[in-house]
């Protein structure tokens, strides 16, 4: 059933007519030709489709486009400011945190979410002290918090330090 929506993506508004069955991921890739988010599993299991919705990381494959409303969608592409890559983009390059790169835009958006959640003091499943005022992104915390992003090339060993370096620069890791 066709419905009129306007998607706000990476700073631009896009009026669109979509079938109600269209996911945000398919609207971005197939309709807006924004191929930054990737389709790995289409079932919430791999994280390749991760985008930020009003700054919070979500799996765009399980979000129906009609439900997005005026929320601002940010893809990994949109994290860059014009030609200036985001600190996470540079850190992934510097740490060689990918091989084929298919999972990388999802990893980057997820890491941006992890940093925001840590700044807000959110705990994780490996946080010993649930009452701690601040969250500290140790390697163990990064692994746990990034566990919704799979990498078939298994670049994990370099993804953790790539995220850790930005966490340190942002003061959520000592």
């Amino acid at each position: 059933m066709d419905t009129q929506i306007t998607l706000r993506v990476d700073g631009a508004a896009h009026p669109l007519t979509v079938d109600t069955r269209t996911t945000l991921l398919d609207a971005l890739r197939e309709r807006l030709r924004n191929t930054s988010p990737k389709k790995g599993c289409d079932h919430g299991q791999c994280g390749a489709c991760t985008v930020l919705l009003d700054g919070r990381r979500v799996n765009s494959c399980l979000v129906l486009a009609v439900t997005v409303g005026d929320a601002e969608v940010t893809t990994s592409d949109g994290l860059a400011e014009g030609d200036r890559p985001h600190a996470l983009h540079r850190s992934f390059v510097e740490h060689d945190a990918f091989q084929c790169g298919y999972c990388t835009p999802g990893q980057v958006c997820s890491a941006a979410g992890v940093l925001a959640e840590a700044r807000a003091g959110w705990p994780s499943a490996v946080t010993d002290d649930l009452h701690a005022a601040d969250a500290e992104l140790t390697d163990e915390e990064i692994r746990e918090r990034m566990s919704g992003n799979l990498c078939r090339c298994a670049a994990y060993a370099n993804i953790v330090p790539a995220v850790a370096a930005v966490a340190e620069a942002e003061g959520v890791r000592r």
């Binding site: 109600t20 079932h43 994280g47 919705l53 399980l62 979000v63 705990p123 746990e144 919704g148």
Partner: protein, 334 residues
């Protein structure tokens, strides 16, 4: 995916009215389970009534020191809430042990309670499954069932024919069952409050129904009565993170003068519903808070277990999880 009409309502009464007129419609929370099942052809609603932003996103105080959780509160926000972390650590830990950061941001409290089983036959429309397609048989009974139920199933020789051996997948619900939560529901016939221990059903002779809710009943909030004792959640799974439970436990324990004064125990991954371990609780009250007592209690609960061909390992796993978690809680309340 079947075509559907997408609706938003102005208020709770409007949402309830929309579904009352749509026998095949469904409420949509975060969609992390429902959209998945629609893609698989397992769920085929013709109308979706979006309630994610309609139901409350607030956690508010109850007069007794408990909390009221709006059905629209995202799982991530609930786990991070300072009051939940302080008063109900078992619930924060259960939420954090579930799914991934992305999913917890989108998933709602109401939707989490009503998520459906991860049984591989249920999610594959080419296979027999009494839950998805009543009367087609249970593929798991003689098939792949390593992560299926050990308690409360209907097996041949019981009062009912063997129908379904699936488990309820939610971590959050196990904690809420241990906490004696009350689910507030709004339906075509008005409002009612359902003790969470009455929400999820055992399969009996109708595994198609996971819960006692009627069509069109909207969960608006979940009330947690004050707890006042140490609590914790533990989950055993096949990998360290981002996997459903093999067995999990939500426990709370109050020890006074070395004796168990009060205890709450619920198990996940063992039954069609989150399993309140009432037999173990009954045995424990008044016993010395020792490892021996905890083992006796665990064994009395698991006496009723009827494991399948390939999931017998869950019986000692559940036993050890009960004992170890209670030992830890007893130490922390010393």
């Amino acid at each position: 995916m079947r075509e559907f009409r997408y609706e938003r309502a102005a208020d709770v009464a409007g949402a309830v009215a929309l579904l009352a007129d749509a026998p095949q419609g469904a409420f949509l929370g975060g969609g992390t389970n429902l959209v998945d099942l629609m893609k698989l052809g397992v769920a085929t609603p013709d109308v979706l009534v979006d309630v994610r932003e309609l139901t409350s996103r607030e956690v508010t105080e109850l007069p007794d020191g408990g909390l009221r959780i709006g059905a629209g509160v995202p799982n991530a926000d609930l786990a991070a809430d300072r009051r939940v972390r302080e008063r109900f650590p078992v619930l924060a830990q259960a939420l954090l042990a579930g799914a991934s950061g992305q999913l917890r941001n989108r998933a709602t409290t109401g939707g989490n309670l009503l998520q459906r089983t991860r049984c591989g036959y249920f999610t594959d429309v080419t296979r027999p499954c009494n839950k998805r397609s009543p009367g087609s048989g249970c593929g798991a009974l003689e098939g792949v069932h390593r992560n299926h139920a050990i308690l409360g199933q209907t097996l041949a020789g019981s009062d009912h024919p063997a129908t379904c051996v699936a488990t309820h997948p939610s971590d959050m619900a196990v904690a809420m069952v241990a906490l004696d939560a009350v689910v507030r529901v709004h339906g075509p016939d008005g409002e009612r409050a359902v003790p969470i221990t009455d929400l999820h059903r055992l399969p009996g002779d109708d595994p198609s129904r996971d819960t006692t809710l009627r069509h069109g009943e909207l969960i608006t909030a979940i009330d947690l009565p004050a707890l006042g004792m140490p609590s914790r959640y533990r989950k055993v799974r096949d990998r360290a993170s981002f996997a459903f439970a093999l067995v999990s436990i939500a426990a709370a324990l109050r020890v006074e003068d070395g004796v168990v004064h009060d205890v709450r125990l619920a198990l996940g991954g063992v039954a069609h519903a989150p399993w309140r371990a009432t037999a173990a609780e009954h045995v424990l009250r008044g016993l010395p808070a020792t490892e021996d007592s905890f083992a006796r209690a665990a064994e009395s609960e698991l006496e009723a277990a009827t494991p399948l061909r390939d999931n017998g390992f869950k019986v000692p796993l559940a036993r050890n999880l009960i004992v170890r978690t209670l030992v830890d809680l007893a130490e922390s309340s010393r």
